[in-house]
Symmetry: C2
Subunit: 322 residues, 2 copies
Amino acid sequence: VLPVAVDAMGGDRAPGEIVAGARQAADELGVPVVLVGNPELIGDPLGLDVIAAGEVIAMDEDPATGVRRKKDSSLVRAAEAVRDGTASAMVSAGNTGATMASALLRMGRLSGVQRPAIATPIPVPGSTPTVLLDAGANAECTAQYLVQFAQMGSVFAATRYGIDKPRVGLLSIGEEDTKGTPLVKETHALLRGGAGAGVNFVGNVEGRDIMSTDVDVVVTDGFTGNVVLKTLEGGLRALVSAVAGAVGGVEGAIDALLPLAAEFDPDNTGGAMLLGVEGVCIISHGSSSARAVVNAVRVARDMVDGDVVDGLRSAVRPESAN
Amino acid sequence: VLPVAVDAMGGDRAPGEIVAGARQAADELGVPVVLVGNPELIGDPLGLDVIAAGEVIAMDEDPATGVRRKKDSSLVRAAEAVRDGTASAMVSAGNTGATMASALLRMGRLSGVQRPAIATPIPVPGSTPTVLLDAGANAECTAQYLVQFAQMGSVFAATRYGIDKPRVGLLSIGEEDTKGTPLVKETHALLRGGAGAGVNFVGNVEGRDIMSTDVDVVVTDGFTGNVVLKTLEGGLRALVSAVAGAVGGVEGAIDALLPLAAEFDPDNTGGAMLLGVEGVCIISHGSSSARAVVNAVRVARDMVDGDVVDGLRSAVRPESAN
């Protein structure tokens, strides 16, 4: 079994938490893991193999410039390991733009895919998460991109959460076909007209449906998707801290809330996945803890075992399937 | 003092809750209130005056068609009362699009304003709300519209919350000037370049900043704004019901949460305001209770007393101010 390549240099808490998480993943999941990074900065690799990479692309560095100039960076080397067949997947909590660029440039785009997209799971209390895409890879999109996002999101939701015929909604500002921007209207018409082969399209959905059980996949452009993701992140954080303050003096209340807090903790959602490249690339959030790395490695392993890349390839080129 | 015109026919709970709320507003606030609607459907007006209007624009009716065909509708008559100087402001919990269209067509656009926008307060725990605009009046916007939204949002935040030099942020997907769509980049450049006279522009903000104390006004196009609003609505509702479920068995926990729940209750936020028309038009949410109507009337009264329309007029035409 090929190892999962973990970018030891990526993330606010790298390398310490990342290395610790990689070690835990190997122990708990029985998944081989290889670290990618500067051996001197990594220090003790805790018994894991290391793919040496001398450079680091910083969290706030310009992604395109970073990937172009730092050919010996941990991100570029991790993507090359997947391309060269020495790793089954890559995981990084580093610079998201640079992670995407590394994966796209080194692994290559899946044949037929116009633009890769970031699929992010949004927790839904008591249910499987809703997959939101694009969560920020493409600020500007065409209707054709969005149709492919619907196809790729379906495959991802089915593979990751075992959902049969995931219900796919198009994010708009009203359920009526006539509402929204020209992009939304055009995409709606294409999906209704059957352009998205294999997509169980349920029509337009609104922001309030994202965290409901009414839809499994929500498709939108990367600008709106990123705004939605960060709005929820900020809103839920504000509410959680207000709730904690309100019930802080009530005995037992915080204990009762802990399972719920775990459900919403981004460390537990397993990270986002870049869909549309020739390999599995899991993007973990910047403040990832060791626990987040374990969950990201688990998702990487599951996506490799579920042949999600083959599924995505077939989904966007249905004529070449089977 | 002129009365506030309350659309007795608008809202999921009209006319009962609306009439009750109008009566309470008159009693509690000492503000004269006049109902607008069909006297037979209103039944007992609880001692309030009624402006008779024979027709009703339904919640799900096409706004433009409704306003064009139903010249004797409660929404059109309410807007005419403001135009004709028989009411100081209008309040409706009815069809939002039809409310906007009625106000725009009957009161008229403020001189110099390219497009009216809906300004919606988003609760921020322990602080004044953040004013989000446009929350859905214009799915498509130009940079010039957004610059005016920044100017109008500033005046509204200052008038409604007494904020001196409100901090205005432009919603994007990164704080860097170079991130976002062409619309965001162009708007950023205009605001940085001083096009938004009177605006305390703090740069780009992200979704996670909306419910923080870092910004007072967040400007975006009506598609993104509406998605944000409904995403927060759905997300907070999902989290609140999950919290209630989690702590339901813990004695005293729900009591501790009640003040917080009140803070997030849309009935207590006082409604949104349509900025850019020749009069005060308050849009209350569709499920408004009597309490929501009281709060909407209070905001209407405050906006009239604060001469917000004059402030808006000056803001978008700074050369003609004072």
